[in-house]
C-alpha cells in the first residue's frame, strides 16, 4: 500500500466514525420528535432552534453525571462491556458502499472503506459480536435485572440471527456474491431485490428490529419488568455508550437493508447523487423503526420465541427453496 492509500483509508475511517456519531445524536432527537408528534405533543424543541442542540445538551449532561459503580461488579468486564458494544457497532459499517467511485483531487476514490469478497459475512459477524457487550454487561453488573436482561438478549439475538442469516441466502443466490458492491451492481443491472425477494425483505426487517433490541422486541430493556435491563447499573457516559451502540446498529441494519434490497446508492432518477440516495433510504427505514415503536405494544417473551422459531425460521427456509427452484427453472 502506498502512502496515498493509507491517507485515504484514515480519512474515510474518520468520516465514517464522525458520520455515525452524528447520525446517532440526531437520530435520538428525530425519534423523540416523531414520538412526540404521534402522541400529540411537541417533543424537545427548547434547546437551540427547533431543539437542534438537544443532543449536545444531553451529551454534556451525561458527561457530568455522578459515577456510580455498585459494590460487587466485576470491574474489568463492567467497563469492557460498553466498549465492546460500541466498537462492534461502529466497525460494521466498514464494508457498506455509500456511493460510486468519484474523482477527487485527481484520485479515483471509491465510496466505501473496504470491499472484500466476504463483506456481508463481516457485517453479520460484527452484529453477532455485539451481543457480547450486552451479555457481559448483564453478567458484570451483579444485579438481577441486569442479568435477566443480558440472558434475554442472548436468547433473542441468537434466535433472530438464524432467520436474519437465512433470509439473506436468497440474495446471495441471485447475486452470486457476498461482496456488497457486487450486490449493489447486480441490482443496478436488473430489478431491486425487494421485488424479487419480498418475503426475504419482510423476514430481514423483522429480524433486524429484533437484533437491534428495538420496540416491539425491546424485551432486553423492558422498563416495566426489568427497570433498565442490562444497563440498570450504568450511569453517565458509560450508559451513553450502550445507547450509542444501539442507535448506530439501527443505522447499520437500515443501511444494510437499503444496500441489499433497495438498490443501495442507486436511485430511479438522477435527482440525487449516490450517497444522498442511500441516506434517503436509511432515513425511510429509520422512520419505520420509530413509527413501529410508537404503534406496537411489546411482545411477551414466549410470543417472541414463537415468532422467531415457529414462523420466521421456517419461512426463511421456504424462501431459500423457492428461490432455488426459481433460479433453476429460469436458467
Amino acid at each position: 500500500m502506498t502512502g496515498g492509500d493509507i491517507i485515504e483509508a484514515v480519512v474515510k475511517s474518520l468520516i465514517i466514525i464522525v458520520a455515525l456519531l452524528t447520525a446517532f445524536a440526531y437520530m435520538t432527537l428525530y425519534e423523540r420528535r416523531i414520538l412526540g408528534r404521534m402522541q400529540l405533543r411537541s417533543g424537545p424543541n427548547r434547546v437551540g432552534p427547533a431543539g437542534l442542540l438537544q443532543p449536545v445538551a444531553d451529551g454534556v449532561k451525561l458527561a457530568f453525571k455522578q459515577a456510580i459503580t455498585p459494590r460487587g461488579v466485576d470491574k474489568p468486564l463492567y467497563l469492557l462491556a460498553p466498549a465492546i458494544s460500541v466498537v462492534t457497532a461502529l466497525s460494521a459499517f466498514a464494508v457498506i458502499p455509500v456511493g460510486p467511485t468519484y474523482n477527487i483531487f485527481g484520485r479515483a476514490i471509491p465510496f466505501h472503506l473496504a470491499d472484500f469478497n466476504v463483506g456481508l459475512l463481516f457485517v453479520l459477524a460484527m452484529g453477532s459480536l455485539g451481543a457480547y457487550g450486552i451479555v457481559l454487561a448483564g453478567y458484570a453488573s451483579n444485579n438481577k435485572y441486569s442479568l435477566l436482561g443480558g440472558l434475554r438478549a442472548a436468547a433473542q439475538l441468537i434466535s433472530y440471527e438464524l432467520a436474519l442469516g437465512l433470509s439473506l441466502v436468497g440474495i446471495l443466490m441471485i447475486s452470486g456474491s457476498l461482496s456488497l458492491t457486487a450486490i449493489v451492481e447486480g441490482q443496478a443491472r436488473g430489478l431491486w431485490y425487494i421485488l424479487v425477494q419480498p418475503l426475504a425483505f419482510v423476514i430481514y426487517l423483522i429480524s433486524a428490529i429484533a437484533e437491534t433490541n428495538r420496540a416491539p422486541f425491546d424485551l432486553v430493556e423492558a422498563e416495566q419488568e426489568l427497570v433498565g435491563g442490562y444497563h440498570t447499573e450504568y450511569t453517565g457516559l458509560r450508559f451513553a455508550l450502550f445507547f450509542m451502540a444501539e442507535y448506530i446498529n439501527m443505522v447499520t441494519v437500515s443501511a444494510l437493508a437499503a444496500t441489499l434490497f433497495l438498490g443501495g446508492w442507486h436511485g430511479p432518477f438522477d435527482l440525487l447523487s449516490g450517497p444522498w440516495w442511500l441516506l434517503a433510504k436509511i432515513i425511510l427505514i429509520l422512520t419505520l423503526y420509530v413509527v413501529l415503536r410508537a404503534t406496537l405494544p411489546r411482545l411477551r417473551y414466549d410470543q417472541l420465541m414463537r415468532l422467531g422459531w415457529h414462523w420466521l425460521l421456517p419461512l426463511a427456509l421456504l424462501n431459500v427453496v423457492l428461490t432455488a427452484i426459481g433460479i433453476t427453472l429460469l436458467q
Binding site: A94, F116, I158, L162, L166, L172
Partner: protein, 134 residues
C-alpha cells in the same frame, strides 16, 4: 489481504474512540459513593443474595438449538453463492448465464436432502416442546 488493512485501521480508530470516551468519563464523572448508593438496584429494597445464581435451563436449550441451525446457515451460504453454477450442467458462460438446455437439478436436490434432515430436527424439537417458553 490488502483489502483488510483499511478495516484494521478503522478498528483501531474505533477502539481509540471507545477508550477515549471511557477515559473522559473517568475525568468528568465524579464518584461520591455512600453505602446505600453503591448497593445493587433492587426496586428500593435491600438486595437479597448474589445475582449470579442459577437461571432457567431454557436459555441453554435455545443456545444449543442455535448452534445446530447456525451451522446449517453457514453451510448454505457458500452453496447459495455457488448456486448458479450448481444448477447448470456445463460451466457457465462468461456473462454468468447457463447455456440453454443444460439445467441441472444437482444443487437443488442436494440442498433439499440437507434441509429435509434439518427440518425433521426442527419438527422434533418443536414437538418435544423445547421451543415452548411457558
Amino acid at each position: 489481504m490488502r483489502a483488510y488493512v483499511p478495516v484494521l485501521l478503522l478498528l483501531g480508530f474505533v477502539i481509540a474512540n471507545a477508550v477515549l470516551i471511557i477515559g473522559i468519563s473517568h475525568l468528568t464523572m465524579r464518584a461520591r459513593p455512600t453505602p446505600v448508593k453503591s448497593s445493587a438496584y433492587e426496586s428500593g429494597i435491600p438486595a437479597l443474595g448474589d445475582a449470579r445464581e442459577r437461571f432457567s435451563v431454557k436459555f441453554y436449550m435455545v443456545a444449543m438449538l442455535f448452534i445446530i441451525f447456525d451451522i446449517e446457515t453457514v453451510f448454505m451460504i457458500p452453496w447459495g453463492v455457488y448456486y448458479r453454477q450448481l444448477s447448470c450442467a456445463v460451466p457457465l458462460l462468461a456473462s454468468g448465464v447457463c447455456p440453454p438446455g443444460n439445467i441441472s437439478f444437482f444443487g437443488l436436490g442436494e440442498m433439499l436432502i440437507f434441509m429435509a434432515a434439518l427440518l425433521v430436527g426442527l419438527i422434533y424439537v418443536w414437538k418435544k416442546g423445547a421451543l415452548q417458553w411457558d
